[in-house]
């Protein structure tokens, strides 16, 4: 398989068969906390797509051009988290300067993203699976989109749920969200076997 075709496969696998949220459980904290409204989850989803794509690319370059040549791979956690935090800060400042509308839509979610484990997780998975630069980038973008798809779908379900259903007391909030996430994970398992990446 050529590299381009492989990257294409990785992209779709990251969205559907290996969805970072529903099969690898990453980014659950903000998934549970922010999925109450459709509009906010859309904003957060878009911010995650953008940050995850860019940080995967930067982290790939840092890993293979700095950490590996100097044999300091064990410092990758610190390197990745610094890249993510710095990138998020930078983007926040740029957006604030450039566009008020974009800042209002995405800006408030950016600080949340630094502690979103999906971003760090995507970089770590990328390194462990030894992707090339192009497929790493595809993996970052695909994982971000997969995460966004999952949180937007969940927000849609939860808004409906709030209107017309009586949830038992013990299940309100996190409990029912987890059960819905479980059912969504079951549904996404239907994609399994379509494409596989490893």
């Amino acid at each position: 398989m050529t590299d381009g075709l492989f990257a294409f496969g990785v992209f779709f696998a990251a969205i559907f068969t290996n969805n970072i949220l529903l099969t690898n459980y990453l980014g659950m904290c903000s998934f549970l906390a922010v999925s109450k409204e459709l509009k906010t989850s859309f904003g957060l989803g878009m911010a995650v797509v953008f940050v995850m794509t860019c940080t995967s690319a930067i982290n790939w370059l840092i890993y293979y051009y700095v950490l590996v040549p100097y044999d300091i791979v064990y410092l990758r956690f610190i390197a990745f988290i610094i890249v993510i935090a710095a990138f998020v800060q930078l983007v926040e400042m740029v957006i604030e300067r450039l566009s008020d509308a974009l800042y209002a839509a995405l800006g408030i979610f950016l600080p949340l993203i630094t502690v979103n484990c999906a971003i760090l997780g995507a970089s770590l998975f990328m390194v462990i699976r030894e992707y090339t630069f192009v497929s790493g980038l595809a993996f970052g973008a695909g994982s971000g989109i997969g995460w966004a798809v999952a949180i937007i779908a969940m927000a849609g379900i939860r808004t409906k749920l709030n209107v017309r259903s009586k949830v038992p007391f013990g299940l309100t909030g996190a409990g029912i969200t987890l059960i819905i996430a479980g059912i969504m994970a079951l549904a996404f398992m239907g994609f399994a076997g379509m494409i596989s990446i490893t």
């Binding site: 990453l26 659950m28 988290i81 997780g121 998975f125 059960i179």
Partner: protein, 217 residues
């Protein structure tokens, strides 16, 4: 007075303010590593180590950390301890280290640790912070161990890798896959919240809690 405070902290973290089922923090790793009991024990040991020591360090440095960059400093302290855990695991138990994969690194972004550092260690003396870190680690651990025990038992009829249920048992494969984890945690929260929540509300209303700070990161 002092031992009362310690007991209060431990009681909060293990019981009424448990990080996993009351504050719903640190869910990622709760779900990801609990399909096999052995991995869970390793993960919990790592987490207790990191929460305890990072809380202690943050508390020791709390007067010197400028408040604007405190998040960054806390993250770096946590990352340093996680690297220690990662290196030790790679050296002594490489099999489990490979199975845990990125989840060891993801201890850094586990909201429990950040939450405790931010909410507790920044404003409390070192010893108390150490106790707080260790006890919230333990509060997290026992929930994970219960879930891992049930998932491994139902999913592969085994405990600690040894088959305990006979041939009559048909494995619930779904339990060791993603959906099983979600359902199991949801049921656990349901049981705990349904049966103890009223008690908890009475307790929070009745007694003043010097240590409560709702660590939300």
């Amino acid at each position: 007075m002092k031992s009362y405070k310690f007991r209060q902290v431990i009681k909060e973290n293990v019981g009424i303010n448990n990080p996993v089922f009351v504050q719903i923090l640190g869910i990622c790793s709760t779900l990801a590593v609990t399909n096999v009991l052995k991995n869970t024990v390793v993960m919990c040991a790592g987490l207790v180590f990191v929460t305890g020591l990072s809380n202690l360090t943050v508390s020791l440095l709390r007067k010197y950390i400028p408040s604007r960059i405190r998040m960054m400093v806390e993250t770096l302290i946590i990352a340093a301890y996680v690297i220690i855990v990662d290196v030790v695991l790679k050296a002594f138990i490489p099999d489990i280290s490979r199975q845990l994969g990125p989840y060891v690194g993801l201890i850094i972004t586990n909201c429990i640790i950040m939450g405790r550092a931010e909410a507790f260690a920044l404003s409390n003396p070192p010893t108390l912070s150490l106790v707080d870190g260790l006890s919230s680690g333990l509060g997290y651990s026992y929930v994970l161990l219960i879930i891992a025990f049930l998932r491994e038992l139902l999913g592969s009829g085994a405990i600690w890798g040894f088959r305990v249920l006979g041939d009559w048992w048909i494995n619930w494969n779904i339990m060791i896959m993603a959906p099983g984890a979600f359902f199991m945690l949801a049921l656990f929260i349901w049981v705990v919240k349904g049966s103890f929540m009223k008690e908890k509300q009475a307790a929070t209303a009745g007694s003043p809690q010097p240590a409560s700070a709702g660590g939300k990161s």
